[in-house]
Amino acid sequence: MLEVIVFSTLNGVLYGLLLFMLSSGLTLIFSMMGVLNFAHASFYMLGAYFAYSLGMHVGFWPALLLSPLLVAAIGAVVERYGLRRVHANGHVAELLFTFGLAYVIDELVRLVWGSVPVAYLAPESMQAPLFTLFGTDYSLFRGVAMLIAILMFAALWFLLKKTRVGMMIRAALTHGQMVGHLGHNVPRLFMGVFGFGCALAGLAGVIGGPLLNTEPGMAATLGPIVFVVVVVGGMGSLPGAFYASLLIGLLQTFFVAIDVSIGEMLNTVGFSVDPYGEVTGITLANIAPMTPFILLVLILIFRPRGLMGELEYE
């Protein structure tokens, strides 16, 4: 039991951190431009695939740096020549654009890398166990992935709170026009933030690819969950996205680990139902993929502004 708790916590935190790498970029982009980037998870997927292809030529560590940069460049181009153009037609048009973009990126990935998973693995040196607990290995790569994620958050915090660019970004979040009047190039700032958000997603892809699975469906699997994180955390709130990421990461990981059916749980508290019936036989592990969406519906009914959102967005 203790083994399950320890490993579920470790894996849940890692998964949550991965979710936050995606949702932090998405939240930044949303609060700045008012558009939820539907293609955000597709940039995550691109990060993984670029790292796979680059890694074959230059090795894992250079790819860890190059792949997010490449994704950032693509993101910047998308913002400059796509999103900025569509912006004039309103938010619905922007959402439609990013939706179409996700569709096209998914298909391009299928076209270039095929529709079966590619063998993107952590480097040989990282496969060794970091520590062994209760007879189960915890691989070095998971530890490093967690370290990278934490370093990234430190860097993000430093960038936003302690640098001049971060000050401009924070100002543009709330008073975009005023920042423009002061002589800063706000569209270029937007492009930078969009590219930066995409780079974070790409970085998540580089470390998420070996941990999860690198296949063309990976964007469609993770994308909706990242949206749930952003809505549950409160749209536009970075701390909210952080807590929601960890919450959903832990929730999902623990549910997967607990193989108890609803009927069995009811029986322990005094009911007597068939633990193998169609409804009562559903285990918590079955419900695991649905937990984010159940949480979303509950949040939207009982606290529409999310955990830490300040106001409701139109």
Partner: protein, 421 residues
């Protein structure tokens, strides 16, 4: 809201012109079986009929009510499931020779789907209708995922991975032949697509239809007049869900199988795709979109491995360059014809169309060449009937020339278009 589309101008006199589109469509539908007896044609036309109803029901939400939904297939799929279970009930009851269901014809099944879709919207819709825009989009996305995932957990209702099967050749026959071949189902589809399209068109003329336009354009002002935007949205969602369910019922009869995938994000995205490509601001826009996208989906697959990509690129191009969709383009030409300045504006438009054509051919060539390099099984990429060797440079050069010429023509004709605005 700034993204509101202007209503097409309506003239006061309801002359014969108002009925012309209906009569022409009816005539075309009646003539089609005289021209061909090919099963493939009817198979595709039947799918088009389903998708027309599906796309139009979706546009009741997005185009007319301003609610961007990523979960419309929930109503479609639940309607499908209701209809297929009813079809099984008809089969069982006719076999036993007694029971209420033994008297229900298969022709009425879309009504079962409609009831199920409307009921589903009635039960689950209320909490979502508080806001339109991004919040509504996110909730419907989550809802769609939730319903699709939970459908997998109840195999006795949703049939698990393989879905629920049925047989449509059961029950009393009302009129027409038995529904054996796609050509027989055609008449079933003609009947329902006409009924549904007319009903949805009539809906736009009701007070509720008008209110849904108002809540899209300015919800706050509507509140000042004394209407509750949330109630209006809720009622529109129910109507839209009902027609989505009707399309689902049609699909159940057509395919005789329903799988949990019909509830998911893929068909929801398809509805959005069809409606947006056809044009959200014009009533008949989604009809054009449904025809085009269905044709692309079913015909391209024989010619290229990248058919889905082309559909996506068309969608992206429409969103970027023609935000009012194909239907909006048709309206624009009609307006120019009406105002008598078609001659002045035509060169710019033709130039734009030529640019699109050139760049499309260039892009198609590029995609096919890339595909050939990555996965090719034989030596050549087959591009629009021409065999191109990807290892030779001239194919790639042609791509560059096509794209560059197209872009040049676009810039040149843009100059024309601005001058005539």
């Amino acid at each position: 809201m700034s993204d509101a589309q202007a209503l097409p101008r309506r003239r006061a006199r309801p002359g014969w012109r108002a009925f012309a589109p209906w009569l022409i469509s009816l005539a075309a539908l009646l003539v089609l079986p005289l021209l061909t007896s090919s099963g493939t044609v009817f198979t595709i036309v039947n799918v088009i009929a389903i998708n027309i109803v599906f796309a139009l029901s979706y546009n009741m939400l997005l185009g007319q009510g301003g609610m961007l939904s990523f979960g419309h297939a929930v109503f479609f799929g639940l309607g499908s499931y209701a209809a297929i279970h009813a079809m099984n009930a008809i089969g069982d009851a006719s076999y036993a020779g007694e029971g209420l269901w033994a008297h229900v014809p298969v022709l009425a099944l879309p009504l079962v789907g409609m009831a199920a879709g409307g009921l589903a919207a009635l039960v689950i819709g209320w909490p979502f209708c508080r806001r339109a825009g991004t919040a509504f989009a996110m909730i419907t996305l989550g809802l769609g995922e939730l319903v699709a995932a939970s459908a997998q957990m109840f195999p006795s209702v949703f049939g698990g991975e393989s879905g629920v099967f049925s047989d449509r050749m059961v029950g009393p026959q009302v009129f027409g032949p038995e529904l054996a071949q796609p050509a027989d189902v055609y008449w079933f589809m003609v009947f329902w697509v006409l009924v549904a399209v007319f009903a949805m068109w009539a809906f736009t003329r009701t007070p509720l239809g008008r209110l849904s336009n108002a809540v899209r354009d300015n919800a706050e002002r509507l509140q000042f007049i004394g209407y509750q935007p949330r109630n209006v949205r809720f009622m529109v969602l129910i109507a839209s869900g009902a027609f989505g369910g009707l399309a689902g019922g049609m699909a159940a009869v057509n395919y005789e199988i329903v799988t949990p995938e019909s509830l998911g994000l893929v068909p929801s995205g398809l509805a959005l795709l069809m409606a947006a490509v056809g044009g959200l601001g014009v009533f008949y826009g989604p009809i054009i979109g449904a025809i085009l996208v269905t044709l692309m989906n079913s015909l391209l697959i024989d010619f290229t491995e990248a058919s889905v990509l082309y559909v996506g690129l068309v969608f992206l191009a429409v969103v970027m360059f023609a935000p009012r969709g194909l239907g909006g383009g048709v309206e624009q030409v009609r307006q120019a014809w009406h105002d008598g300045d078609l001659r002045r504006r035509l060169p710019g438009w033709l130039g734009g169309a030529g640019a699109v054509a050139l760049m499309s051919i260039g892009l198609i060539a590029l995609v096919e060449l890339v595909y050939q390099v990555r996965h090719g099984r034989d030596q050549f990429a087959h591009i629009l009937g021409i065999d191109v060797d990807p290892s030779a440079p001239w194919g790639w050069a042609a791509v560059v020339i096509l794209l560059a010429t197209g872009y040049g023509l676009h810039r040149f004709s843009a100059h024309y278009r601005e001058a005539s605005e």
